[in-house]
Symmetry: C2
């Protein structure tokens, strides 16, 4: 298997289901707890949506959080163990679907907000998500991506490309980190434009004490 | 005079008119020649505009370049020596106007493209430019800012604020560099939203040989 491929991402994640569920349930990831989880929750809730789609929902914490607030939330993930865990342990609806199957698997459904919370880390798979959004997003709907900030995530040249992954800051149970595909800001912006979507704002959640930026949020919708 | 103020920016520039005109006329600024000048010219020309406004036009090279292509271009600047030089030496139309006087001074005029090419370096003055844009921009018009990329321009914490200026890479005739007000990406994005404008794409001109990013272009229009 190509160590820098979308296929390898799914393979790596499949090997880390147990420690990941433990890390999320025990709040082991500092930047998530304090900053990025709250930031995406607020961005979504402030829009008062009725129906939400969480693409790459993992073990389902976000879908559960929204469901508890009375919002109809559906989580999809390509990894069966995550979907099984979520169905058995989390409130909300879950469906096993790869990013490639999105349009077909959710045909006819429309969402007010679609989020990808640290779940767009591949190459072609990310293009496929973007291609699916127009058919799944309500006319006035919002597409929200939270991801590694290209300002602070980039250790090499500022050019799109595959990077080695790391489980830095997580427990020793984690193994074989997934690679990820770095994108410059303009490449993210182009993904919106190329798919008849429009990037409309950028938000940078940060640690209010240290002023350190924790992530970037790219917020957009249909091209008008 | 406060060394970190909009007033100080105009004061510093006023002391460097002669070396600046020399630098531009002799193509002394490498990143401009090779990359950023071409990038903004292409962004503008590709839109096939009829009427252009260049805010902070300086000695007028850009207005002249557009005028030579048959586009009706108006340059405004707060510094009288620049406007006098441009009127006497450059093709195109020029008007002495501070950023504060924009709306009033150009009342009733509408432009297809409004550009600010490395000319939004202040604090309140930049807010004033943004406040003026909605009344000066055609319904389907485009507002293009080219500026220092916050990824590479930031030497301190990633927080909005005044920074010391520098004439790095320029001749020894330059003195008393103008301070500038650093803005994070999300602050730029907020400026669009706060003024009923919409950021619609981001472009990062770069040196194709070294892959080094030379600037950021923030492109937007009316909120729809």
């Amino acid at each position: 298997m190509n160590p820098f491929s979308d296929e390898k991402i799914v393979d790596s994640w499949s090997k880390n289901i147990t420690p990941w569920i433990k890390a999320i349930t025990n709040n082991e990831i500092e930047s998530r707890n304090g900053i990025t989880d709250k930031a995406i929750l607020m961005e979504v809730i402030n829009r008062k949506p009725t129906k939400i789609l969480d693409i790459g929902c993992g073990e389902g914490w976000f879908v559960e959080a929204l469901t508890k607030k009375g919002i109809e939330a559906l989580g999809i993930d390509a990894i069966e163990q995550f979907i099984n865990y979520a169905k058995n342990n989390r409130k909300g609806k879950y469906q096993l679907l790869s990013y490639e199957q999105l349009s077909e698997g959710l045909k006819g459904k429309l969402f007010d907000v679609i989020i990808c919370n640290f779940s767009l880390i591949g190459e072609k798979s990310v293009n496929q998500v973007f291609e699916s959004i127009p058919s799944l997003l309500n006319k006035k709907g919002t597409f929200i991506i939270q991801t590694l900030h290209p300002l602070f995530a980039n250790e090499q040249t500022y050019v799109d490309g595959w990077r080695k992954g790391s489980w830095k800051g997580l427990s020793k149970e984690f193994m074989d980190p997934a690679p990820w595909y770095f994108r410059t800001l303009s490449s993210w912006s182009n993904l919106f434009n190329a798919n008849n979507l429009q990037l409309s704002s950028i938000f940078e959640p940060k640690n209010e004490t240290t002023n350190q930026v924790a992530s970037i949020m790219l917020i957009g919708g249909h091209n008008k």
